[in-house]
């Protein structure tokens, strides 16, 4: 039995208070998005809607839907490709180390900490040169490339837990590097793929800097479209809040159903080596 550092009522009081702070934006978002525009006045901000009105969702959906589709086209291939690449790299860097491979790994890792502003000007020139500027395939390329460090890190740490003996006995049975990857590593790394997949899905879905600089108008992903909602002349807060919820829904749902894996990714991505 552990002794308790706090008296129980006090403990729950503090936790509840903090929870209210964390949930406050959700409450405001929900009540605002369910109000018709004439009820969205500053003074009534905290009041519950007098009548439930879904029209702001309809309006937000009409404006965001094409960008929502863009983002799907972006996120699915980018997530799959970067997970696959990360898994290959992680396999090599954990089970087929060569001289200097640890420094290669460190060199790759640096790429996940850089401010992307420091590569943006050449990147855009490069994408123009290869005709991928202002296109979803261009954004896929960008997310796959700059996803290499984090996905490699996650898979390398993940594969470190697979015992060396398994690889060695497979080698004695005559299996080569690819057979081992295909028949031993991949089946054992389903969880790894789920964790990395969720992580990349969430990050790419939520990303803004590449999206706003590499694409314009119709090609833009959801977060740029959401940001543009507030650029209009009259700020329709109800539509904006409905839009924010719609844009956040996919990652929120992923968190709700697969939150455990999301948190694992969070911890895996931060604990080095």
């Amino acid at each position: 039995m552990t002794a308790r550092a706090f008296t129980r009522p006090l403990l729950y009081l503090i936790l509840t208070g903090l929870s209210l702070f964390f949930l406050m934006p959700v409450y405001v978002l929900l009540v605002t998005s369910l109000k018709p525009l004439d009820q969205v006045t500053l003074a009534q901000m905290w009041d519950l809607p007098k009548t439930i009105d879904f029209s702001s969702y309809g309006e937000a959906f009409t404006k965001l839907a094409p960008h929502f589709v863009n983002t799907l086209y972006l996120v699915v291939p980018a997530t799959l490709l970067s997970a696959l690449l990360g898994s290959l790299n992680g396999y090599v860097l954990s089970k087929w180390r060569f001289k200097g491979s640890d420094w290669v790994f460190t060199g790759l890792l640096f790429g996940m900490f850089i401010p992307y502003q420091s590569i943006l000007i050449p990147l855009i020139q490069f994408l123009r040169d290869i005709n991928l500027y202002n296109s979803i395939p261009g954004l896929i390329l960008v997310h796959v490339v700059y996803g290499i460090p984090i996905t490699t890190l996650m898979f390398r740490n993940f594969y470190a837990s697979i015992p060396k003996e398994m690889i060695e006995s497979a080698q004695i049975d005559g299996a080569g590097i690819f057979k081992i990857y295909q028949h031993i590593m991949i089946p054992l790394s389903i969880t790894g793929f789920v964790v990395v997949g969720i992580w990349q899905f969430t990050n790419i879905w939520n990303e803004f800097l590449f999206a706003v600089t590499i694409t314009t108008s119709e090609q833009q992903p959801i977060m740029v479209a959401l940001q543009n909602l507030s650029g209009s002349q009259i700020v329709e807060w109800n539509v904006q809040m409905a839009g924010a919820l719609l844009a956040a829904l996919p990652t929120l749902l992923v968190y709700m159903f697969l939150g455990k894996f999301f948190v694992r990714g969070l911890l895996a991505g931060s604990v080095k080596g």
Binding site: A3, V28, N89, P115, Q117, P122, I148, S270, G273
Partner: protein
Amino acid sequence: MNNGITTPSAQQLNDGKAVAATNKKRGITTDRLLSVLFILPSIILIAIFVYGFIGWTGYVSLSNWNSLVPDLSFAGLKNYVFLFQDFRFQADLRNTLFFTLLFIAIVLILGLLIAVLLDQHIRAESLFRNIFFFPMALSFVVTGVVWQWLFNPSTGVNLFLKKFGLEPMWYTSVTVIPGVEWGKIQFGIPVAILAVVIAAVWQMTGFSVAMYLAGLRGISDELREAARIDGASEFQVYTKIIFPLLMPVTVSVIIIMAHISLKIFDLIYAMTGPGANFVTDVPGVYMFETTFRGNYYANGAAIAIIMLLSVAIFIVPYLISSRKREAS
């Protein structure tokens, strides 16, 4: 050899073994080669897209390219000199400094507090955990949009604060405390930045909670028990045993939060923009606007390089030390 039936001699058996051995050896060397081939594309991509492009940006930052037409003639440090004398960039440095300090301090303290509370064998732990974690699954853009509404000075949280006679201006305030003259700007904490700090804290505290919670769960109950038997109070168990053991977690959280805060762009762009007198401007927003809205490419590149250096100063030692720690 010439008759049909042969029985393998000892010599042949040995040869066979030798062949198998060379085969195996050849197999492994081919595999070795293949393993490098597997990773080579990633190495090349990162070499070009990270290191090559950084070099290119560095080159642009030393050029005269400050219009729509690329002009890569050498300008020396002109763009850097301009920035450090620029009112807006000086404001950015001040804002980034205080944003980073406040953001990290609050995320650490609040995160540790919540983690310790959650670690007290409470009911509904997973419910509470999810309440603190879910903002991390959101985009900074979503957070920015929602908190802009909440911190609207004539509404939002002010509707409550009014009852206590408080009516802060939040992100519309241009006050800088204490506001001593320094270069072209007033130095101190811009009040407006607090609104952004609160929004960022709301989004990222879950990260430090998760990290500290994992750290706390890794500390054995026996250790706590032993300390109690030695007569330590519950308070001392935390301050003398547990908090020191959590130091590596604290370092990790500081590093991760610092690099997020030094390159922050989307939250501020979505929530407040540069603000009046640039009270909420940061290098990320300035770089974006001056490069892609104003076509001052060389200035933008110089801002980007300064951002990169500010991150590299502590990321590089951190990466090298964790590499060495792993090697030993």
